[in-house]
Symmetry: C2
């Protein structure tokens, strides 16, 4: 049986011919369920069966280490209904997480230098010279085209490059790490991109929480490590946010004067306008500028309350819409109240955002804007994925008519 | 034919008996159209016809002179569909305005001292001693009960008390002037009360406009007259605002730093909570605090733009809702855009506020919050009137069943 791949941009069809007697088992024409169409070859000796190739949707998530990427990924996976697990029977130090719909790979796996190599050359992991962007591009492109790859593993425990692991094309591939938008070739493969932008004050508070309380590092060593990373971070990581379709900015609260505890956060969701398959969410009235303190006559909140802001802004010369939440939720009824006033949420039923947040109330950030906006972005990615699937189905149907 | 008035609070019925032969022309029972009910007397010799007495709805409007009361009245009358005219064939200096539905009387007509008398006693017109509150109470009460009165006329041209004019009970009586809420007996007769509160800066700018440009007064004399009035104004007029169901506050803009031109205004509509038959209007979400700059992606406005504010506040220990508009409208599409986001407007169709504003685009304040809030209060008064009429109809129907 001969086979070929037909590219009818933006979709591909994989076609093979079968003998006419075998084709009797099929009926001719378009088969919605299997996204297949069948027709006879020109000499009518054989039947041709074409199936749409399910191209993987690729999402990029950029952020510094320890900035809540894993929580974000757990929220995203949950929106699709499954739990993400490391690959079964593989390297126990694999950075990959797989669920029914999504595969999340960590871009640290494309480090070209291991810990010793970086030390020898005097470069940090943030430095492009410590990363193999050619391989990153080739492998992400291969997966997007439906081809499995042998991806390297960077072992965070040993600091060594371990033998590769097999990554099969999933429905949605998330590439998360320091450089998903650094290389323009990789960037062009992204169907959607997100940048988690944690302000220095908050980053410091979080690092202290994690590295000091959980890992026993000293305050000085944490400060020194942040300072040491800063030049490379500013040079190679931070500039990527200009390319992101959505940026989640995490800042200290403005509700408590001179707050430095970092327990109450002001979180801003910056959404680029004009992005295909992404309609920015809005509060009350699209395109105008609104500040909203929902706590009042109908909803009572404890100190320091909650304040929302929404409005158009310019971000790196791009027109964006910004939704901001300062403060934290006390109870469930607060969140459903907010949800009812937000539009373009891409939920499948009223209250889905609140339901998702409740389901993972133990995740960090569940009572503030980080959890809320991560959940919302998860819903927007699901919506984007479903739009692509629907477009593919329409394209297959159209191709069958030709 | 004997007659009597039956009081079944809060409504009154005027009943008369007619002979049974005459009653043949009527059918027994309740007549919705005429708000009448007919029954037989105990000895069944006569039929009794009872009609609901249309008690006049009384509205109080307090404000200093030259503060836009007459424009307000023209807007209010227009909401009811008619134009207000002075009484036909009467004193050409009458202060009264009559339309199909409303009669507006000026409380200056209850001055007990004329201009010379005030000068002799050294009191201003603002001083309660220059006003006859007993007569004001008696006459407003009489009109409310459906009885015509001979109301005095204070002649603003001559400064004298002219012979009285006949005021018949209208559907709606508006008493406007300096003291509609000063005397507690008069206050208790009001079905709704409004206070126009013009800040000193704006009052000064308006006085200059009117008295200097139109009447040829000097800047010094205007300043002196404002200063001279201030103590009595603060003592007798200003305190009435605590009793008002709605206050319209007119302040200088906050959109232009240090503006003293008074051409752009910040206008606040303060609406008391819990007032019978008056549901405060709100922006987007009832009971929360919102600031809204509608000018943006969908609506472009010229400098300095428009800013709305809405939220719960406390005003003289009363719980109130405040709606604020700073700035001015450039064009019609701006106003309909705002209208679509305001709730509880008591309009009869979508766009009625905008239509009313357009109809009187030549009135002062038509491009800012004074015109907008006067129009809205006009609609709320119409709604209040219609609620009273509907309750009266229901009471008549209920009385007929007894």
């Amino acid at each position: 049986m001969a086979s070929c791949t037909v590219h009818t941009a933006p979709y591909s069809f994989h076609c093979g011919s079968i003998s006419r007697p075998a084709a009797k088992a099929f009926s001719l024409g378009f088969h919605q369920k299997h996204q297949q169409f069948i027709f006879f070859s020109s000499r009518r000796r054989r039947a041709v069966v074409c199936s749409a190739v399910e191209k993987t949707v690729v999402i990029g998530l950029a952020a510094d280490s320890g900035c809540g990427k894993s929580t974000f990924m757990r929220r995203l996976t949950s929106v699709f209904g499954g739990a993400a697990e490391p690959p079964k029977g593989g390297n126990p130090d694999s950075n990959t997480l797989i669920s029914d719909t999504t595969t999340v790979i960590c871009l640290d796996d494309y480090h070209s230098l291991d810990r010793t190599g970086r030390k020898e050359k005097g470069v940090t992991a943030l430095d492009p010279r410590a990363n193999d962007f050619d391989l990153m591009y080739e492998q992400v492109k291969a997966i997007k085209d439906g081809v499995a790859v042998e991806k390297p593993i960077y072992n965070h425990v040993t600091g060594l490059l371990d033998p590769p692991e097999l990554i099969k094309p999933p429905k949605i591939l998330v590439i998360e790490g320091l450089h998903p938008m650094y290389d323009s070739r990789v960037r062009d493969l992204l169907d959607f991109s997100i940048y988690l932008d944690i302000s220095n004050e908050v980053k410091f508070a979080w690092k202290i929480q994690r590295d000091m309380a959980e890992r026993g590092h000293s305050l000085e060593s944490i400060k020194a490590s942040i300072e040491a990373r800063k030049p490379d971070f500013d040079a190679y990581i931070d500039p990527q946010k200009q390319y992101a379709d959505a940026v989640i900015e995490v800042l200290p609260t403005q509700l408590i004067p001179d707050d430095d505890e970092g327990k109450v956060l002001r979180v801003r969701l910056i959404m680029k306008e004009g992005v295909k398959r992404f309609a920015p969410i809005y509060l009350f009235d699209e395109g105008s500028t609104i500040s909203w303190i929902p706590c009042g006559r109908k909803l009572t909140c404890s100190y320091p309350g909650i304040k929302f802001f929404y409005g158009p802004e310019t971000y790196f010369s791009n027109e964006v819409s910004v939704l901001e939440m300062d403060g934290k939720f006390d109870r469930l009824d607060e969140l459903i109240y907010m949800e009812s006033h937000l539009s373009n949420l891409s939920t499948k039923f009223y209250g889905e955002v609140t339901q998702q947040m409740l389901k993972h109330s133990d995740f960090p950030g569940s009572n503030n804007g980080t959890g809320l906006f991560q959940t919302i972005i998860g819903l927007k990615i699901r919506d984007l994925y479903e739009q692509i699937v629907a477009e593919r189905a329409a394209a297959t149907a159209a191709a069958a008519k030709v």
